[in-house]
Assembly symmetry: C2
Homo-oligomer: 694 residues x 2
């Protein structure tokens, strides 16, 4: 399961960057749609992606702004993604009486399709290289602080111009960590409704123990429908369902949105992740895991309320275990060190290269020191780990909105820019339920975290606590705020700076109190770390481009990428792992674990065991290169047809943040055939299978 791992990364600050490595092995790569690996595909697979093929795949691919991928699979607006990508919405539309997340759902008519409160889907329409314009705005004589401001300014301006001109969501994306800047334009859908979801038990069959493992037997899918003008959207580009689905050995493609990789990081940057960033993240995840477990144990209803959060945290925790295990492996880091030594030796041997680019590694080594100094404050304050709650997140947005609105567009924090405003408001005015008791548990724990991390004597920490202990302070905040009410949020936002300045709402007061210090630490991070790293990595990138051209792929940035490779098994501890499992295998797997949770099949499956064809292919692995954020990505054959949907990577794929190794790294998918088989034979949803062309 990859979604939440990426979500978690989104919630934190972007704390890493990368450098371009020229050596591409095997089927490695998360390729840009405007720079596909035509040579490799032609040589190894005799495949040439035509402009039409590429455009069709691109426009059929969907980004879930909540942190995952998906695809259009019908002209009638059906969007297929993972159950665990839809989970955020499934949870938000659930109540004590109706648990969509746990029990599953099928809307027999359009009228029965419940609307997601805050889901935004993006479909990429075009890519434009704006590197020249961005770089022209940053002058060599500028300090890193000036450079950061100038760069942010020109990016905001480009985005606004594009948005004004096209009406499309327009994002300038930093690629090769500053080597290139591309403008991505997206068509946006914000009226998204639920059509189908299976039960949690089968979507996440095998639970945490089986997560990131293979073989697997999960029906990790759900179907939404995009609406426009209150009608199902008419979709031109959608993926047709393959007759056979994925076949052992065939070449397949994954078109999706990998969230973030650090493959091109310098060794110093990797060691920072290994020794500081990842351990701190893991402590934070384990802390929340225990807190949510304890909360959920209290009652059935609390268990329901906490479940989606808990699942996300467990998923991230397991993913981070793999991440840190990779960095703690001397072989992997040794390979990185050897590669870095080789490239630095090359630079050192060329005086001109040395002069232009040679100090990049030292610069990045320096910024790691700054990261170590400010990391805790960044996480606690700007990363809001000290205030983990929906209400604080709303309060901070309101406080900042009032301040940012008064600035010219180009000077605003990017998330408050005009181009981003619609997306911001979709979240801010979401009608998703806010549960007081969960808010209280999270905020109590998180204020305790703040005290631990900043220290009890820290003046800001003492002001935050207001003379109380974490539990009492959280109760005062959650009990006293009115911003749980959407109308109140709108009222405060309309009142602007004056309203914020005079507000007595305890959460607005808290967000106001914290904001100066939080903004200051963010500024320090941006200007003394991010900008310096961007320049340093850009130096390395440019040198590499000079030496090797741009026939490579940049680190993942939650933008659309294409991966490729065959459906293929692997060897593990001397055993051969078959690439495909079957639906019948799910029943055997349940029996092997005594049918105890999390290996208990849902009633619907037990009831219909005799109805399904047990040989139906169920899950499969391919060598496609993916990472968190790719969850829900369609798997496509040469004909551009849908043959499966990514939902996980195996345990050996978790080091994919840093390296790709074709020997064992595998992407795990649900096979297209099993989706149709279960819709028809288990869920009695033949009309839906028909809408998908079956």
């Amino acid at each position: 399961m990859q979604r939440s791992r990426f979500l978690v990364m989104l919630c934190g600050m972007a704390l890493h960057a990368g450098f371009v490595c020229p050596a591409i092995f095997a089927d490695e790569g998360m390729w840009l749609f405007n720079n596909l690996p035509r040579k490799q595909l032609a040589e190894k697979y005799k495949f040439d992606p035509t402009a039409e093929w590429t455009d069709h795949v691109m426009k059929s691919s969907v980004r879930f702004n909540s942190g995952g991928s998906g695809s259009f699979v019908s002209s009638t607006g059906l969007v297929l993604t993972n159950h665990h990508v839809g989970a955020d919405t499934l949870h938000k539309i659930s109540t004590a009486g109706h648990d969509y997340y746990k029990e599953g759902f099928w809307a027999k008519t359009h009228a029965e399709e419940p609307k997601a409160p805050d889901l935004e889907l993006n479909v990429l329409q075009s890519i434009e290289d704006v590197t020249g314009r961005v770089n022209a705005a940053v002058k060599p004589e500028m300090s890193s602080s000036e450079a950061f401001v100038a760069r942010r300014g020109v990016i905001s301006t480009i985005e606004k111009e594009s948005f004004d001109k096209t009406g499309l969501r327009s994002d300038v994306v930093t690629l090769y960590q500053g080597g290139q800047y591309h403008l991505y334009r997206y068509k946006k859908y914000t009226d998204i409704r639920l059509v189908f979801a299976p039960e949690f038990e089968i979507a996440f069959f095998g639970g945490d123990p089986d997560n990131f493992e293979y073989p697997r037997y999960d029906l990790d899918v759900c179907l939404f429908r995009a609406y426009e003008d209150d009608k199902p959207a008419k979709i031109e580009h959608f993926l047709k369902w393959s007759k056979s689905g994925a076949i052992d050995g065939e070449l397949v493609f994954v078109s999706g949105h990998p969230g973030k990789t650090d493959r091109l990081n310098t060794v110093a940057a990797l060691k920072y992740i290994r020794d500081v960033q990842a351990p701190a993240m893991l402590d934070w995840l384990r802390r929340r895991e225990i807190m949510l477990q304890q909360f959920g144990e209290r009652s059935e209803e609390q268990s329901r309320i906490a479940k989606e959060d808990l699942f996300g945290v467990q998923n991230s925790r397991k993913a981070y275990y793999g991440r840190i295990a990779g960095l703690q492996d001397p072989e992997i880091l040794g390979r990185k060190e050897a590669a870095e030594r080789a490239i630095r030796a090359k630079f050192d041997s060329d005086p001109q290269m040395k002069k232009s680019y040679g100090d990049a590694w030292e610069k990045i080594e320096q910024t790691q020191k700054t990261r170590r100094e400010i990391g805790v404050q960044v996480n606690v304050l700007e990363g809001a780990r000290g205030f983990n709650s929906t209400v604080f997140s709303i309060a901070r947005t309101l406080v900042r909105l009032a301040e940012e609105n008064e600035k010219p567009n180009r000077e605003r924090l990017p998330e408050f820019s005009e181009a981003a405003r619609d997306s911001l408001e979709l979240g801010l005015y979401s009608t998703a339920p806010i549960y007081d008791d969960l808010e209280l548990a999270k905020l109590t724990d998180s204020l305790g975290y703040l005290l631990e991390k900043l220290g009890g004597e820290n003046p800001l920490a003492q002001k935050v606590m207001n003379g109380k202990n974490p539990a009492a302070r959280a109760a005062e905040l959650v009990g006293g705020t009115k911003i749980k009410d959407v109308a109140e949020r709108k009222r405060i936002a309309a009142g602007g700076r004056k309203e914020i300045a005079e507000s007595k709402d305890p959460l607005i007061v808290l967000a106001r109190l914290v904001d100066p210090e939080s903004r200051a630490i963010r500024k320090k991070l941006e200007e003394q770390v991010v900008e310096i790293e961007r320049q340093a990595y850009a130096q390395i990138s440019r040198a590499q481009f000079e030496m090797h051209g741009t026939s490579t792929y940049p680190d993942a940035t939650f933008t659309l990428r294409l991966s490729y490779g065959p459906v293929k098994g692997y060897e593990e501890n001397g055993k051969t792992i078959d690439p495909l499992t079957t639906m019948g295998g799910a029943f055997q797997h349940a029996t092997a674990h005594g049918n105890r949770s999390p290996w208990k099949l849902p009633d619907s499956w037990q009831k219909h065991e005799g109805d399904i064809d047990p040989k139906t292919p169920y899950n499969f692995v391919s060598t496609c290169d993916i990472i968190g954020g790719n969850s829900g990505s369609p798997v496509i054959n040469r004909a551009g047809e849908f043959v499966g949907i990514i939902f996980d990577g195996n345990i050996q794929s978790l080091v994919g943040d840093f390296v790709y190794d074709e020997r064992q790294n595998r992407a795990v998918s649900v096979h297209s055939a099993s989706i149709i088989e279960s819709l028809k034979k288990i869920y009695g949803a033949a009309p839906l299978a028909e809408e998908l062309g079956h």
Copy 2:
């Protein structure tokens, strides 16, 4: 549940100390048997403990060296303690086929009583003040390093002399953090056999959610029998079972072994715990909790293997939450600060006092800085958090044993002194099972912890890893060692230093590698922190004795203490909590939670619901002042009869590490009547009830 919390503390280094506070409130106090609060008892309760009463209670009280308390309850050697104190043994004697810990047990005959592999019970026989002799060995002109060595030397000598003379286990106990030294002599029992345990489900009914909560419904008891010469020991001093058991409002006493409190710490020392020690401990506990959960999820057998460890960790984690919540409460710390200011002002106003004692607080403030500097290394190396496994613990003991054996007794590490040798060997040569897969999971996680804490570039860390990642290194260590075999341990121990030096056993090699640095950091802690604090706290203590006399109690030290107070309910959130629950209430509590785990009553209880008297008192609370280590302590009435057994404190008692507040702090016990009722009516163990006098 208090046991494991104390066990965990035992496993770490003694990192705190205390100062004597003269103000005793209400029923506060963990009193020394040779300095009971006669005045308070006489004034408030008109009770005068006679020498006979005191001697009888003392000699009926039992210390479980594994980290808890208990009492003799028959002339035939029966020892009553908590199920969770016996858990360590219940787990060790269990196999895949017979899970004593989960299923419970009753031995109908002596022949059926299984023997604990490494349990030692201590019964206090006498106390002797040796303060003068200890202090005389430490000269004013000595450096703190010399002072530490001299003090340790004289203590070892006193212990050995006493042991040689009496044959009794002889421990010199540091009281008032150095204000006094007393010699405690114990009769020792090492042939301990299991007689009765109920099911885990009822011993820990309500599980983690109900742990440290009240009202409660737990039968947290088990019965062992002490043997001598392969026959049931003949016990002169044992507690007679009261007819009525504890009654609302009556004065009761708790005679047990509170493990450790920090009530008398200076504010600087408390802030160190709040900001550094406790957060680090909680991260460590949560890490292990997740690891053990994941391990246990894999299969029923792995769940069984990990369960006792997991339960201990969860118990400690919940206890530490209460502990840190107390320190993060400005009211509690504010009270401490005010008290400290007052006493320092008094010192400042008296030039002689100021001169003799005035710099004590600054000294302790300084040592907190040293603690911050060395804390991580102490925990990882000497605390062995980097090598968490039974096999490492055995290997380290063997390596040190060979080295310490060559030193004169007075220069040895205390755990290797001659007086402690029997106890050491009982553990070292224990036949308790060692599970390879659990060892592997623990050691893998823990080597990862070592890398995180020391940093991947640390030279010792790199040597420890031997060029491998944590999983591969742990597999090499656990797979390659032979010290899982007791005979091999004995062979190595017999071979002495030469055997250790030449050993190729990977765990011996590892322990040998780590030992110099580990010993060095321990030395630094002992000489630059512990000794300085001991002298500084002793300064404060002596000043207090001068001002107020010694009519107070020292911080807990896992030695026998007496607490007192009435059986009494309390107010919580405006609600009155009754002091007693009933056996019938257990069924209602289960129903209120839908009978789902951990509120599922065992089959035996469900089957015999109609047989028991539902009004039988079950659990009760009293104001007695207890802490971790007190688990299993007998609750005694004025007549010296057994009326209940301590098994927990309520959530408000968890700050008891630092302060006692009679308003809500409550000790939670199993009522004597419910033990008899369940033995007779639920477990069909009438002969056992008869042996207890019923």
